[in-house]
Symmetry: C2
Subunit: 205 residues, 2 copies
DNA sequence: GCTTTCTTTGGACAGTCGTCAAGAGTTTGT
DNA sequence: ACAAACTCTTGACGACTGTCCAAAGAAAGC
């Protein structure tokens, strides 16, 4: 039996690669339902159409599987967010669009978002996830900064805060909204939308 | 052998209650080092001076132990923050004091803070923690709001955002600082201090 | 002193975990 | 068609988990 590394190093678009992403998708599904602490490889396999043994055929160990999941998650995530920005013509349009997008993804993808926060936190304890998590986090920060600086451009005013702080602010608002939303608050998404629009404006006064 | 409930219902300041907090302290120590997912009862007992069996003499099960930890953590946490506010005489003094306090606790209690975020996230997956976590979260929100409204008073200007949004904003800034700090950034605390002071001011323009 | 209660220990339990390997099943190359 | 390579299942392993319990030890009441 060849090593995992050999299998990976064949041409990229491959039956092997496809199955990896297929298993990673099942893993993401399970993780977002149960959270990192309660997700086992057997549980992941049960949510796929394969048996638990196959996971070690496609991934060296649990860490590699989860790391791969995180990377795959990133792709979906950034794509999701990036569709939001480009079409705004006026500052007001961008501001409303941003608020609506945050509220929308809060409503639709709450489970995925709580998984992201879970994994980001695991990286504070488990060194193995650190690099990938920081990579995603930075891509999110850049995404927020693209919005803020585009808004500044449309408004012809420089923003009051830098990239890191802006990301922290909106991420904080979102996380608080997520907590409320998952605790059953019906108004969480609407309140988030209002806060986001208000704060974005407030950064330019 | 009497039930745990009976033992609890004796007079509060007790050998029994003392030992509970003693064990809970050891648990907090272990949790903040390893995180929720990797902390076992045996590990907790090993970081105390007792054997693992004694944990079920003082706590019904793992959930009750951790819940008790969270509550105990809350007491320390709010007390820590509340000492900050009261002595500020001018708006400027309060603003600087707030920023310095955030930066200070980021440097000194980073492990405890990452544990808090870990547990808050667990509550999004495990119903059992939900109530206690929300309780702490609300007490933190009130604590932030005390600062903001005191600042508003000293400045004689109403704040631009409400209680929930204010908490989300500063919590987001702090969490981002924590991520950077634990990733080895030397400047994280200073940058947090600057952002906090800047944003607090920005809420009143 | 002795007896009764409270406290603590350490081992046993049933279950789950990640990992591995033998072999069956499938596809591919010739 | 046969052989080689790849894919997948199944069951096993040692380690670890939360929980429970019998018994040893300590403290308190008399």
């Amino acid at each position: 039996m060849p090593q995992v590394e050999d299998r990976i190093s064949r041409r990229q678009v491959d039956k092997f690669t496809e199955r990896r992403t297929q298993l990673a998708t099942a893993a993401l599904q399970t993780l977002s339902e149960l959270g990192y602490a309660r997700t086992s490889l057997r549980e992941i396999a049960q949510n796929s159409e394969f048996s638990h043994g196959v996971l070690h055929y496609y991934f060296r160990d649990k860490v590699e599987l989860i790391t791969h999941c995180v990377r795959q998650y990133k792709a979906e995530c950034v794509k999701r967010y990036d569709e939001i920005v480009a079409d705004a013509q006026t500052a007001e349009e961008l501001r409303k669009g941003f608020g609506a997008a945050m509220a929308g993804t809060l409503r639709e993808d709450a489970s995925l978002h709580r998984l992201w926060y879970d994994l980001r936190n695991q990286s504070l304890f488990e060194e193995a996830f650190r690099v990938d998590v920081l990579d995603i986090d930075q891509s999110l920060e850049r995404m927020i900064w693209r919005i803020v600086s585009r808004y500044a451009e449309l408004l012809d005013t420089p923003p009051a805060v830098g990239s890191g702080a802006a990301y922290g602010l909106f991420d904080g608002l979102f996380q608080q909204g997520l907590l409320r939303h998952l605790s059953g608050s019906e108004e969480a998404a609407n309140e988030l939308q209002a806060s986001v629009e208000l704060v974005l404006g407030q950064l330019f006064r």
